[in-house]
Symmetry: C2
Subunit: 108 residues, 2 copies
DNA sequence: GTATCCTACAACCATATGGTTGTAGATCAG
DNA sequence: CTGATCTACAACCATATGGTTGTAGGATAC
């Protein structure tokens, strides 16, 4: 899923379809590449459930799925929590009465 | 940069080095792959500035760079803001007293 | 009906990825 | 010094990626 967002064209597509539905062809017109290339990008986003497609006549309207985007954001936020937990632990260590050498590594 | 995080092994490496410095070889021991493979993962994370390396004797100690992780999180958060902006606009439209029909002529 | 548009999918190519093994340079222990 | 360890880097392979073109089907317009 992060892989699906690790491409600027796909992030741009997500940006647009989060603001409203767009057909695949109207999206394709925005980028300097072939229709098939944009179609592939949309397929990758769809496989990651970042966008949904809805048929209307001969068009496929693409819309963004904010829930999946939130999942990705939450995944990255976990890193910040890990970091904060570490900082908290360091605070405890500094608060300890005596700690001559804070040795990190794993010499096992 | 998101690409660097779009791999579970690399996310796991980031998780660990955010909690403290680890040498490349001690990291390599955690995963069922060759030392060189882990070394490549670390190099990719380093290129994305998600981790830093510090030489100590014959070891290279890897530590996580929380700032870059925050940048990635902020990038994804923009999507949620775009989404909220759209919802706000929809709220305004629904709050309009008379709907903007394409009714130009006003025959008195 | 035919023509046109929108979409899907396949084949193909160049390049990047994730993994391997092997070699070589530094550094530390003896 | 020799030997062991940590690291870097190159070569190689299988596979996935991002792009292309071409073909085919479904829906609309005429």
């Amino acid at each position: 899923m992060l892989h699906a967002l690790a491409d600027s064209t796909r992030r741009d597509i997500v940006t647009h379809v989060l603001q409203g539905e767009h057909s695949v062809s109207s999206l394709a017109r925005r980028y300097p590449m072939s229709f098939a290339a944009v179609q592939k990008h949309v397929a990758i986003l769809e496989r990651a459930d970042l966008v949904r497609k809805r048929r209307q006549g001969r068009e496929q309207l693409v819309s963004g799925n904010i829930a999946a985007v939130r999942d990705a954001t939450a995944l990255l936020s976990q890193f910040e929590e890990i970091w904060r937990a570490r900082i908290d632990r360091m605070g405890e260590i500094l608060a300890e009465p005596d700690h001559p050498e804070p040795n990190q590594g794993d010499p096992t």
